[in-house]
């Protein structure tokens, strides 16, 4: 059975979400009302999926994801306002999916199951953000001081798939249109996230090394 931890600071919403998930046969192993307790409980219960509200007290979504980077738990973002920079920061910090809160409970349950299977849950809005982020990195590349800095690039196929996701197509529709398997579509989508995560991690390590912080960072993780 899929295990999930629900982290949200609005009690009504949190309880309704937990109830819907339980009713759909997902095991809710805990709830959390703020960032630090989300991190603690995720470490204690090691759920398959952390259903994470972006705007929680004390720790931002991306900080929660960083703090849980060494766990196998996958983070699925659920946000009301869809504040774009926050969503992008959290996705870069390792979250593998994003849903707006206006999604129906059936959609949320399906997204939790998909996240547990290791699939990336993209809304059209998230695909637009990710495309924008790769474009930004590519545009910024020639002016950065370090010429050897590796800039992740999307393949033409990945860009094509992301554009179709961003214009509202489901994986199945994309598979039909491009005459590839559903699994291949998923792989392309996951690869784009993988490149973002990797790039973010390279940046983090570089930052840590430049400040002589690598030992402390390792201690924090441990």
């Amino acid at each position: 059975m899929t295990t999930v931890l629900v982290a949200d600071d609005h009690p009504v919403w949190r309880d309704a979400l937990a109830r819907d998930l339980s009713a759909a046969g997902v095991e809710v192993v805990g709830t959390a009302a703020d960032g630090p307790s989300a991190v603690r409980r995720a470490r204690a219960t090691r759920p398959d999926v952390l259903l994470l509200d972006l705007n929680m007290p004390d720790l931002r979504g991306d900080e929660v994801c960083h703090a849980l980077a060494d766990l196998p738990t996958r983070a699925l973002i659920l946000s009301a306002s869809g504040e774009q920079h926050d969503v992008l920061a959290t996705i870069k910090a390792g979250a593998t999916g994003y849903l707006v809160k206006s999604a129906s409970s059936a959609e949320i349950v399906a997204a939790v199951e998909a996240t547990a299977r290791g699939e990336a849950v993209f809304t059209p809005g998230l695909a637009g953000l990710v495309l924008g982020e790769f474009a930004r990195m590519a545009d910024a590349a020639p002016t950065t001081a370090e010429p050897r800095r590796p800039i992740p690039e999307l393949t033409d196929r990945e860009t094509e798939v992301l554009r179709l996701v961003a214009t509202g197509m489901s994986s199945k529709e994309i598979a039909d249109q491009l005459v590839i398997s559903h699994r291949t579509v998923q792989n392309h989508v996951q690869n784009t996230l993988g490149k973002l995560h990797l790039h973010n991690r390279v940046e983090l390590v570089r930052f840590a090394l430049s400040r002589g912080l690598e030992d402390e960072a390792a201690d924090d993780r441990g």
Partner: protein
């Protein structure tokens, strides 16, 4: 920039960089000027009436000058004391030199040392203090020489210039620092307001989303409430993202110091963020995806592009069928803007769509292709019956020359 933010050890408050720079310069100037005065006095010591008094006065000046190297605080009392010392040294000249040599244009005992005293007052008290100090020294000079020579008048003019200009420079720097602080404060306030607004909006959005969701689940008449909540949720989200973009944008325009400080964006040259125009089309049947960073275009170009998108969406409403939904994707890369408008409607025969101008469907050819080509870009359609329609617009950000 960093030095600006430090509290000055000399005056005990935040000071512009020039204040400390002037003070450091003065510290070096004083002993050198005192030594110079001593050398000049030594050269004509045999003409002096009371050489011992010259020794005493110059020794006091040198001791004061060296003492200020150790004691770093510069208070108003201290600079006035220094000014008084200068006045006394000037007046002492009358007893040291003979009347004949004074009348012949002999220098005052402290010579250029008093310029340091005037500058010291100007640095602390601004132009007004500097002019006042120069006036005090001028009066002392006039009292000392009785019959002003040309040299006396020249020296006085130079002193007044020195006190006035250095004081003015310090005044201007202080005003700039105050402006800078105000701007920073204002930015902080804006940011805090934005953060608060986000917290409030987030709460309201959550509640609306919840009403929407539960209302639909319960069904019946409650579904009507759910639809209302959904509509409000959408418009509030749009408003929030608009206001946020607006705040960010105006933050730059209304704060001239910050703009002048380096972004290099002339306030009047700021473009329109295409994102906020496109997001306004969002609704029950239209979803809009945009990048996280602004896509700024010349306002006229942004309006034309937005009108082309509106025409595409209008086509969806009129021809794609009652259940059709539409998605808009905005991309910006390497100086080009890409917009994709896709619908899942009934589709059309491509040939027929593009030749439809003759049959009353003016939308495609004029409103979309015409506009986009005027902007130096291109529009391409992909459609077939039963498979929706995708329009891809590709336009350079800058007008082609």
């Amino acid at each position: 920039m960093e030095a600006r933010d430090r509290t000055s050890t000399r005056t005990g408050r935040r000071e512009p960089v020039v204040v400390d720079a002037f003070s450091r310069g003065l510290d070096v100037f004083r002993p050198l000027a005192a030594a110079y005065a001593a050398v000049l006095a030594w050269e004509h010591h045999d003409e002096m009436v009371r050489a011992w008094l010259a020794v005493v006065v110059l020794a006091v000046l040198m001791a004061w000058s060296l003492g200020l190297l150790l004691y770093q605080r510069r208070t108003v009392r201290l600079v006035y004391a220094e000014l008084s010392l200068g006045v006394i040294a000037i007046l002492a000249t009358s007893w040291v030199e003979s009347g004949a040599s004074i009348a012949a244009g002999q220098f005052t005992l402290p010579t250029i040392w008093v310029a340091g005293a005037v500058t010291g007052v100007a640095v602390l008290r601004g132009a007004r203090g500097g002019l006042l100090a120069a006036a005090v020294i001028a009066v002392a000079d006039l009292v000392e020489v009785r019959q002003p020579t040309q040299g006396t008048v020249h020296n006085i003019v130079l002193l007044v210039l020195l006190g006035g200009l250095i004081g003015l420079a310090v005044d201007l720097a202080r005003t700039a620092l105050e402006r800078h602080d105000e701007v920073l404060l204002e930015q902080e306030r804006l940011r805090e307001r934005e953060r608060l607004a986000r917290v409030v909006h987030d709460g309201v959005l959550q509640t609306l989303a919840y009403v929407h969701r539960r209302g639909e689940e319960i069904g019946g008449p409650t579904a009507e409430l759910a639809a209302l909540a959904a509509e409000q949720e959408r418009s509030l989200r749009r408003l929030v993202s608009d206001v946020a973009a607006d705040l960010a944008g105006h933050g730059r325009v209304d704060l001239p110091v910050a703009a002048a400080a380096g972004r290099g964006t002339p306030p009047d040259g700021r473009g329109t963020d295409l994102r906020s125009l496109l997001v306004a089309h969002e609704g029950e049947r239209v979803a809009v995806s945009v990048p996280a960073d602004p896509v700024e275009l010349d306002p006229e170009r942004a309006r034309e592009l937005d009108a082309a998108v509106a025409a595409c969406l209008d086509n969806v409403v009129r021809h794609a069928g009652p259940d059709a939904r539409a998605w808009v994707l905005l991309e910006s890369r390497a100086g080009r803007v890409g917009i994709t408008v896709r619908d899942n409607g009934v589709g059309a025969d491509l040939e027929e769509l593009l030749s439809a101008g003759g049959r009353g469907r003016m939308g495609v050819s004029r409103s979309v292709r015409g506009r986009v080509e005027d902007l130096g870009g291109s529009a391409t359609w992909t459609t077939r019956p039963g498979a929706g329609c995708t329009v891809r617009l590709d336009v350079p950000e800058e007008a082609p020359r």
